[in-house]
Symmetry: C2
Subunit: 425 residues, 2 copies
């Protein structure tokens, strides 16, 4: 006779993507298929904070229709926290609280859909519970628009943000082609990415439609050289009449300082420097240098929430990340992260393969030299070959009243059963 | 025996829209149906500048397939100039040149797809030609994302930009709902519109999906009150945990000065003050006042070029604007602009009706008081009722390599036959 099934807990953490909820749907659907192994499937509301504060939801209430909604909804349907546990030595109380919650709800499987740092913390929590006599399996579910996850061909969430950036830059380029003769001659688009220029190089994809586009690509991996930049802008304006540019929000000067319109760097209570403004800085620089009209755009969150233009390839990666995590648990693994391994480049054939969470935790994948041209301001054919399959395919979504039908899904939280616990953020 | 057909000239001018080329297709298709009236259909490349410089293209080369491409392409396929003729008294030579070009190509019909100011100039040119013994009919074709065209229910181009703004704000709102608990609590989206807040109020459409959204709408029609704004932000953060905001780039202080991050206003050779930065200014203000994380986005040109999310209603309006202009010429009219007249509000039933160009030229339609709530920071039900039908419907577009298939259409220009003429810009 088999032992009684343990319950599942799924949680979301860190910056959202347009497809993170597809991973949630993947976890729920796959776990439902194995009632012999998995009992109830809970989701924490607000990541690890929701675990600590015992704000949980029982996904049994999710009908097929709600799961379909989940699959097209941007943001994190279960809320995503920017909060990491302290170390066990620093704050044993936090770990005891997680254990108490896991015991209360008979959690045996913890699927954590977050950054790799958070996922390692989740694993440590699971290990702690196991040591205390309540065995918990922890599996990571990858997601990040930044694409800086190591040991994985790419990250779920990146392809859709890349498609958004490339589409936006392509459309703006047609605007400049139309009007540069008597109006704007330079346009800069600012892409997210503090240290990694993956979304910036995605702007280079406009070359699949306009091979000779007068494009400057400034990834965070290269320090900014003002003179070389202005020389290239000048060349393009002289020869093509206009120039378009895509730039990493985290672009730095040679001395490592961020390029920004603001000299006063805003810091808030989490002591996190707010980036943004580099596109406008470049735009003003070009306007002043060449006495011409310039424009800039900063899509900011729009690029990571654009449910209306997700990449089908990326969506599949996100959905299958959830399923692969559950499969890893079925296979009896613990402390692993399913990552994307490529079997064939053209056409792209890939599968999930597990790596140890601790192995990827401290690695950050930046854009390799082979993807950036010698002048540091354009992308290579190798980069195009890498990027093209990731933005491939469109996923139709339902509309209501002319807008994506993405009203937040309403679900009930479970009545709290443990003593109240308030996280200090 | 009927007199020989005169030729047609079509031109685009001013800021582009995502659907201006649908108007071009409407003109070409409708004129082709009436060979008894219209001879060759030319397009000027770069608006009135293209007329003066004799850079013309014969649209006979446009196959059905090219016309289909035209119907989904953002920007201005024939290039759009920001250039107006001088007055006849100031610069008679310009008028003589246009007459020479019109005579050379036997132009009898001039369809001008531009701002109303430019269209009146076009009419004056046509009148001049007629006086000099070369009769020319001039008809306007409306377009502007700003929706500030008077005597028309709305403007072709507005509905698609409105759909883009509302979709973007809705998606970003889901981001904030996901993450505000431990991260960003305020987000501002900057919409185009120097004096008219039409695109800003379009952000209010997110209420069709999230009726109780903690939303602040700041149209250019109302001066900014810092205290009232901060009070409302504070209220929303306290009661809902977050606040989203959509703001006109042209928002001003009580004294009429623009709110901007930059104290140095950049002016270029056309002496045009560059707006932009108000969303970031508000975002920084909230961050500093409430010591919380904030973000902002500036879509800039993306909102007027987003071919991938046009409104089907708007597209039909643009396409039929072109056809209505040709119909006006068939009806023997001159100096008119087909404008949108509403026959029924719900569901929206509309048709084109001609008004005299001179009648609309100096009128600017701003957002009426009845569309803005008493506190000046939200929109009314009347505004929602007006906006909803304009963003209705989606128009699927072809994709290639994961991007909208909008590579610029290649066409040949006619070999110049007149002495060279260079416009000084």
């Amino acid at each position: 006779m088999s032992e009684p099934a343990h319950n599942v807990l799924y949680a979301q953490a860190g910056g959202v993507t347009a497809v993170i909820n597809a991973s949630a749907a993947g976890v729920i659907e796959m776990a439902r298929r194995h009632p012999e192994k998995f009992g109830k499937i809970y989701a924490a509301v607000n990541g690890i904070v929701g675990v600590l504060e015992e704000t949980l939801t029982d996904t049994t209430q999710f009908t097929e229709q709600m799961l379909d909604q989940l699959k097209t909804q941007p943001g994190a349907a279960f809320q995503s926290c920017r909060f990491d546990l302290d170390t066990l030595a620093e704050n044993p109380e936090q770990y005891q609280r997680v254990l108490a919650v896991f015991r209360q709800y008979n959690i045996g499987y913890f699927f954590y859909n977050g950054g790799n740092g958070s996922m390692v913390t989740a694993q440590k929590v699971a290990d702690y519970c196991t040591e205390k006599g309540h065995p918990v399996t922890c599996i990571g579910v990858a997601k990040t628009i930044d694409n800086d996850l190591a040991l994985s061909h790419c990250s779920p969430g990146f392809g859709s943000a890349a498609k958004y950036i490339a589409t936006s830059l392509l459309e703006a380029t047609l605007d400049l082609i139309s009007m540069h003769n008597t109006s704007t001659k330079f346009f800069a688009l600012e892409a997210m990415g503090r240290n990694a220029g993956w979304l910036t190089i995605a702007g280079g994809l406009i070359k699949t439609q306009i091979p000779d586009a007068p494009l400057i690509v400034l990834p965070a991996e290269r320090a900014f050289s003002q003179q070389a930049f202005l020389d290239k802008v000048n060349h393009f304006i002289e020869h093509k009449g206009y120039c378009v540019c895509v730039v990493s929000e985290g672009l730095t000067n040679e001395d490592g300082s961020y390029i920004s319109i603001e000299n006063i760097e805003h810091t808030h209570s989490h002591d996190y420097t707010q980036l943004g403004g580099v596109a406008r800085t470049l735009s003003n620089l070009v306007a002043q240098t060449f006495n011409c009209k310039t424009h800039s755009a900063v899509p900011d969150y729009l690029q990571r929430s654009a449910s209306h233009i997700v990449s089908e390839t990326d969506w599949q990666m996100a959905y299958r990340a959830g399923k692969a995590a559950v499969q890893a648990a079925l296979d009896g693994l613990h402390g692993v992260l399913p990552t994307i391994q490529v079997l064939s480049e053209q056409p792209l054939v890939w599968r999930y393969q597990n790596v140890d969470l601790v192995e990827v935790a401290d690695l950050e994948k930046r854009v390799p030299d082979s993807f950036i041209c010698d002048d540091g301001m354009d992308i290579t054919q190798a980069a195009l070959d890498y990027l093209k399959p990731l933005i491939k395919g469109e996923r139709p979504i339902p509309y209501q009243y002319g807008l994506p039908a993405i009203a937040p899904i309403q679900y009930q939280c479970i009545k709290q059963q443990l003593p109240p616990y308030k996280v200090v953020k």
